[in-house]
Structure formats: C-alpha cells, structure tokens
Point group: C2
Chain length 422, copies 2
C-alpha cells in the first residue's frame, strides 16, 4: 500500500498553520474610490474642528437673542460657502441657509418655517423660545481638532470613507489588496465555448475560484489552465510567484502518478500540510515558496508566498477555499475577523455522520421564529457543483457514527452574502 | 409660515412608491469575470450530462469485477483528458487517474491505496469487496442533460459561476449592473487636498455615496460637485440623465432660498414625494425624469430615470441611501430581496424616542448568548459622520414619548458586511 507522506492534520491545526504563515500586507496610500472594503493601516486624526466654523443647522434668520420677540430689520443674506462679510447689529436679522457660517453678532437662528419676512421686516412667530445657540452647530461640535476619528484595523465602508473625505483626504493609508493568482491543472480541462472531445470537461474551478477571491477581498489574477507536464507546471508556478501575493491551484494533489504539484512544492519551498481530516477536501495542501522576480530568479526582498493546492473536484475546491484560503486573504488584507461567520442552526432533517472525518455539508438556511433551520442541498458528491450552488452555508457535522437527528443544533458557517438574502 | 408643498409620507409609503417606479434592467450576456453579484436573467439548463462520460473517482486500477480477487495483468494507463484507446480484457487492469474516463470493459476502480503493482502484476489487498460501479462516477451522475441547473433570479456567487462554467459558458444572461450617477450640490463644498477658505467644508457625501453604490452592486459614476447656480445644476442633471440609469444627489433639498433642485425636478419630471416622516432624512425627495441623449435631448427610447435627492447632512444622506436608494439599485439589478436584512436586538441602554418621527439610530451590535445587543454610536446629530462610522446597523425606534428602555427588543437593519465582522 502506498502511504501518503503527509500526516493527516485537523481543520483547526490546518487553519492555525496557515495563519502563522501569512501576515498583513504593507500599507499604501489608496485613493478613496479604490479603498472600499480595505482595512485602515493607521489611526486617522482630525486636523481641524468639524464644523470648522459655527454653522446654521437650518434655513432661517440669524439674529440676536437679546433683541427679544421684536421684529428685526433684514440686513442681508448669508449663504453657505460664501464670505458675505455681514455683521448682525442689534435689531437686525440676516437670512441664512443650512450649513452657512453664522455671521458675527448673531447668537441664534430661527428657522424659516417660524418667521415671516415682508418688505425687509422679519417677524417671529408667536410663542417660540429664543436662546443663545438655537439653530447653531458650534465649531467642533461633530469632531474636535486632534480627535481620533478612525482607528487602524477598521474596515473601510461608505461611512468611514466619508469620514476620511471630510478630513480633506483623497487617499487613506490602507493595507494593500492581496493579489491572488489562480490556475487549474489537468489535461482533461477545456476552456469554454468549444466542443468537448472524449474524456474532456470544462474548467469550472478557475472561474469559480477567481470569483471567490474577489468576494473575499482579493485582486484575482487569472493564470490559466496548466497541463500535466512538468515544465509547464514549473513555468506557471514561477510566473505566479512573481505576479501574486498568494497562489491558488486546483487539481493535481491526490495520489495519482501524475500528481506533480506536491513534489514541486516540496522541492521549491516548504509544504506545511498535505492532508486534512475533512470531507470534502482531504487532499488540501498548503505550502510557502520563495517569491520570484519576473525573470524567474528568487526575490529575497519579498516574503515567502503562501500557496494553496486545492483538490480538483469543484465542491472540494470551493469548500477548502472558504475554510482556508479566505482567512489567508483576509489576514493579508489586515482584517481581524478572517473566518466565515458562524450561526447555530436547527437541523431540518437527519444528517448522516461520517465515521472518519468531520463534514462540511452544504445547506440552505430558512429563518423560522427567529431561528435558522438547515436543510441539505442534496447529494454531496464532491464533483456535484449543484450541491454548492444556491447554498447558504456549510453545516459543520462532527466525525461520528449514525446520524445527527432532525431538531438537533449544529454550527453553520455562513457563506458570503447568504445573510443578505435570508 | 412657509409650508413645504410636499406632504409628509411614511417610510413604508416612500419605499413602496420607489419600488413602483423602478424595474429590473434588461438582460445582457455578461462575461463570467464581470458577473459576480449579478442576478441571472434566464434559467440555465445543462446541454449534456455531467460527467459526459463514466469517470474514475479515485486514482487506482480499472478492472473487471467478474475476475474476482485474483491478481491482474497491468494492460496500460488511462489518464484524465487523454484518449488512450485501451480496452480492459478479462484478467487485465489499467492504471487510471481521478477524473479519467473508464476504459471499455472495466466496471470498477480499486483505489491505489488498496492495491499493489509489481512487475506488471496488480495485486488487490485482501478482504475488499468488489462490486460493479465501485470507484466510478456514472455519466450524468452530477447533472443530467436538459436538467435546469440555475434559475432566473438567482444571484451569481462563486458556486453559481462555477456551475455556468461547467456548462461550457464564458458568459451568462444577467441583468445589467445599474449605472448610478452621484453628484453633490453646495457652494460650501470643496474637493480634497487643498486648504479650506472661510465657510467651506470638504465634500464627504460624494466619496461616501459612491462607495455605497458600489457596495449595493451598482456601477458608480462620479458627476462631481455642482454649485448652487441654476445653469450648472441643469447641465449636471442633463449629463447624469444621459450617463446613468439612476441618479443620486445630496444637498439642496431643504427649505432655503437656494434650494433649486426640487423645482427643477418638478419641472423636468415628476416628484413622487418630497418629505418623509423619519429622523434623520426628512427632506428626502424622489422623482422620475425622462432619460436624455448625450446632446441633452429627451431620449424616448429609455425608461424614465429614478433620481434621489438626498439631504446634505452626511448621516442623513447615508441613512436615506441605505433605506431607499439601495433597494432601488438592487431592484434594478434584479434582486428579489432589496431591503437591508433585519434582526431583533436587545437594547443595551435606554433610547429616547422622538415624538414626531420614527428614528433610525446608528448602533453597534454585540453578540451575547446568541442574541444581539444594540448600543448607540453616540450623538446622533445628522452632521456627525462619527455616528455612522463603525456602525453595524440602524436601530428602528418608533415615534413616541419617553424612552425605549434598556432590555427592550427592537428591530435593527444590518448594514452591509456588519454581520461578517460580528
């Protein structure tokens, strides 16, 4: 019996090993339109008060409280963004728009709905209380100069990017988006839009994994289909080690004679594990290899590149991507939370257990009375992409005998965006 | 007192009005690398069986069950993707790799770990049960020719794109990504990277809303800052109506003298509502305007363009975006679920109620014992972006007197990606 030279490691061991070998990428100044979803690499402090001047909260009339309820003489107009140079003298009022600076002399703004202006005379509606500061947003009311407004490690969404823009920034210091190279291996794999010959199938892993890379926040790089010939594999690997921060391959990691990838990884770098106790995805292999320059020479100035050799079956490839590659990409992008979010679900049917390996069973989730109910997507053959298509999550079934009965509770790892549709 | 000509409508009324006026965009053939997150516009059926031939599930030896436990003569090698032309005669075995077609004559595959080959003789390990079909994935086992594999309306994630690729497709019929034009209005707004003059602030809404558009699945188009002058606004609007499927503006919709936008919208098209009973975001305005050609002429061949005039305060702009613009973008993209997902959270502190309007209070969410606990992000001034930055959701507080006490339960609308970090 041929033994795999790689010991079988647990899922937890595998993930820990991966996270030991990947680190956040260096920070760079990233233009705001390119920074959505990236992680801030430095704290940001406000260089000035926000607002930088006392501003009107409403459209109305800036006036002096001390003048009481008496009608005011309209002395001018203060619009936002305009230097009007008006001073509000006793007995006067100035028409003002939302966001406009409060003119000197005024200490309150009465909103336009509560006053009337006729022939240059402003009359306040009866019974309203005037007090200094009414209708005024003081200088620094929202943010004080020197205040920290965003912290290193924060993910940049629309609000955070707006915050950065409000400081006058056109770019932010953020961890670079990881460039992730993806290739498929196998002589049977064909590109789309052409008829298949005998024994051939279309390459579905590359499009699927490239999309998964983008969804995880990486910059996908398509490295094509690599044939099962030694020279070709070495060439593709060298090109990937020059072009990408992280590499993902699929196929060529089981026990066959033509599995050239594992020996190559072991020869060029270090294989950290080559088998994982899980279903599907057992042949998953993780290695780090020295970075290369574009001429193929080793690049000592760059950190070693993590490379994931995923199984060729499309479901195995996607499941191992979600469990192991996604955390590596997110760690490189600087995220603190790297694994798929987990919920507890009630089993909507019995699920058979595998006596040898924990299983990540593709399920749909339905919400009922504030709980999640998990149902299988059907046959879990690792070649059957239909079991992953439309799936909301990966039900985590422990290794064991018999079944997990309907009604039992188990963790489910939520696939990206599943929650949004639930 | 100046009355707004627009009646105050409820949040529900506003959303229903919007959804009446937007429809899914037409389908187009979208290349797979561009289709992530789009919605499939037609059912997809498999043109052929998957696999298209009986295939080996493992690396091993293809053989005949009828030969029993006896050693076999090694008669050749069948690799994936190769036409070997071998027939497995009685007493013979053929070395085979995962995914390779089963050679004629063979009816089972014994995995390489359960057999030994020496000097052309294949010996099976003792005690294993041979049965026809062992180690073989029959033709059509994963998908049958003619079977529907993806349904119109399904969102395209990595698994669905892999499924499409497995059919040999390089593109899919999907609803076009909505092009969303964004401009800011206001004389006080300045672009980044330059010092502010008196009365000026940086434009934060445009970067923030452009990011929100991308996050919602739209294609953002930056239409710049438009000054508070009639000609400029008309020019920007005409350009936007030619370039985008949907327009988003911020500023210029409150009651001030310089609010030129609402009359322009009413003159060029139909304003469906101009005030919404909500806090923040009351001045939100929604209209539909005829599409324009690039020369500015009305384009009768295109549907009317929805346009959202959001309030200028940055928090009001973002909250109304999430509640109203995001659903419009998602509806145009073909999604069935258009609103932010909702969870029930326990209040981690008392929240004061507003007697006049329901409030969408920015909160952080923490998970404790399987429940969400909501806490305020602090001062909710609609100018204070810090209240939105780092927020996980919008707590929905009903209009009312007094407070919603700590420990009470209320709905929270989850902001995109908040769940992933929770």
């Amino acid at each position: 019996m041929r033994e795999s030279p790689y010991p079988m490691v647990s899922v937890d061991h595998a993930l820990a090993s991966i996270l030991r070998h990947v680190a956040p990428l260096p920070a760079a100044a990233v233009l705001l339109p390119d920074a959505l979803g990236l992680v801030l690499a430095e704290d940001l402090r406000a260089p000035a008060d926000q607002p930088p001047f006392p501003a009107s909260i409403v459209d109305g009339f800036a006036l002096r409280v001390a003048d009481g309820a008496a009608p005011r003489r309209l002395a001018g107009e203060q619009m936002a963004g305009v230097v009007a140079g008006i001073v509000v003298e006793p007995g006067a009022a100035v028409r003002i728009t939302t966001g406009a600076p409060i003119p000197p002399g005024a200490d309150a703004v009465v909103m336009v709905e509560r006053a009337d202006e006729l022939d240059g005379l402003v009359t306040l509606h009866w019974g309203q209380e005037l007090r200094p500061g009414l209708g005024i947003r003081p200088m620094g009311a929202d943010v004080l100069a020197g205040q920290q407004v965003l912290a290193a490690g924060q993910a940049l969404g629309p609000a955070e990017l707006g915050m950065a823009a409000s400081l006058g920034l056109s770019s932010v210091p953020a961890h670079r988006r990881p460039r992730v190279g993806v290739f498929s291996t196998g002589d049977e794999l064909m590109p789309p839009d052409q008829p298949l010959g005998p024994g051939q199938i279309y390459d579905s892993n590359r499009p699927s994994l490239l999309a998964a890379v983008a969804q995880a926040g990486g910059q996908p790089i398509d490295l094509g289909i690599v044939r099962d010939r030694p020279g070709e594999l070495e060439q593709a690997l060298a090109a990937g080690l020059a072009a990408a921060d992280l590499l993902v391959t699929s196929g060529g990691v089981s026990m066959g004679e033509l599995d050239l990838l594992k020996p190559l990884l072991a020869g060029w770098g270090q294989v950290h594990f080559g088998r994982v106790r899980m279903k599907p995805g057992k042949p998953l292999t993780f290695a780090t290899l020295p970075a290369r320059q574009t001429d193929g020479a080793i690049d000592p100035g760059q950190p070693a590149r993590p490379i994931f050799a995923l199984p060729g079956n499309p479901v195995s490839a996607l499941v191992t991507f979600h469990l192991f590659v996604r955390p590596a990409i997110r760690r490189m992008a600087g995220h603190a939370a790297v694994s798929l979010p987990q919920v507890i679900a009630t089993l909507g049917q019995p699920f058979p257990l595998d006596p040898e390996r924990p299983e990540f069973h593709r399920v749909t989730l339905r919400r009922a009375e504030g709980r999640f109910v998990a149902r299988s997507t059907g046959s879990q053959a690792s070649s059957r992409l239909l079991s992953a298509s439309g799936a909301d999550g990966l039900l985590v079934l422990e290794q064991g005998e018999g079944v997990a009965p309907a009604g039992a509770e188990r963790p489910v790892l939520l696939l990206d965006d599943a929650w949004l549709a639930a």
